[in-house]
């Protein structure tokens, strides 16, 4: 799984990184975003809903997993 280290970055930067980097994984593959901006926990799942990708949850604090669906 690709890990994007966005710790210390303010929103929307982690979401921008996710949108750019998810193109580099195959459909069905997953990306882990590390982000500690307080908006990330809300905005990463919201991005998944808007862009029809799958939010896999937060396995640990400040980590968010997303599966590419399209």
């Amino acid at each position: 799984m690709i890990t994007l280290d966005c710790l210390g970055q303010k929103c929307p930067l982690p979401v921008i990184a996710l949108a750019r980097q998810i193109r580099n994984v195959d459909v069905g593959g997953a990306v882990r975003v590390l982000a500690d901006d307080p908006a990330a926990a809300n905005d990463i799942p919201a991005w998944c809903r808007m862009k029809e990708q799958e939010y896999l949850g937060s396995p640990e604090p400040n980590a968010f997993d997303v599966r590419r669906l399209s």
């Binding site: 949108a19 809300n42 808007m50 862009k51």
Partner: protein
Amino acid sequence: MGVPAGAAAYMDAATAVPLHPVAAEALVAALADGWADPARLYSASRRAQQLSDAARAAFAEALAVRPDEVSFWSSGTQAAQAAVLGGLLGRRRQGQTLVHSAIEHSAVLHAAHQGQSVEVGVDRLGRLDLAAWDDAVSAPGVALAGLISASHEVGTVQPVAAAAECCAESGVPLYVDAAQSVGRVPVPPGWSMLSASAHKWGGPPGVGVLVVRKGVRWISPYPQDDLYRPGAIGALDLPAVVAAAASLRAVLAEAQTEGVRLSALVDRIRERVAATVPDIEVVGDPDDRLPHLVTFSCLYVDGEALLHALDRAGFAVSSGSSCTASTLRPSHVLEAMGVLSHGNVRVSLHRGTTEAEVDRFLAVLPEIVANIRKEAGM
């Protein structure tokens, strides 16, 4: 950009509405007599008392309550916190818990966090989960319930009547924060306490109104002479109270016409923004909403950059994005709804808003959003 900037368009009515002409007139007129302390026993004081009584009677009529149920406070926030804290104290023998929605104004949440509270969630459109509300208010130890009449951030009207029924069945008084509704749309009956804020309808800033219905036990959380009678701490700005009363009457007289006009402009914003700006989410209930308020979030856009760009283009709007908040946290309302919080813009209209201003906003927005995205590499 092809569209001239023109005069600045103020579109943040949900924060404060420009002073209504009737308020300005009444304010000047009331300065002559409103300076005196109404509680004294000389003639200047009696004139001030008459002004105060007339303002109270005007509010009672406008809100369809008794004059002695109306009290004045130094802001909407003070009125809201007096409702919560005084309502909890009045019921302390029955319980300690405040039940409130997750989308209350921060004024109510700050008061809630001083004691025990239970938060009830909302759906994706920002509407209260009534089943969870019913469970929460019927639990043992509930002293008070608090519900905003309509969301100040996304405009969704809350099911006040149904929520009030749940409260009545459990014998729990309901406090309604009606700051965004009073002067614009009716608030359904069934509540025990209600607060409003004059600068949200075009009255002067610094006037809050609290209604405590007869039979509702309220005890002042502040050191005061009469702990059982709600009222401001210290001297009131009586001329501002008089102006607030006069402007509410004027605003109510035009509320229906203005509501129809502004609601059509909001519909236009909802439709055009969604059609002309890619990767955007218009949030809140499209139909059961306040007439004057619309909120949307733009993917990949920094909310602060968007507000500054709109300000440079001549538009005053607000945002629930974390980068625009003093706390640097995203709006608790957007979080509770689970909608995008960055790139967020709240547009709220008032009687001075013109169709031309709205059209100019809609004309400049797509390019402003595109430029910010381009700078961010999107």
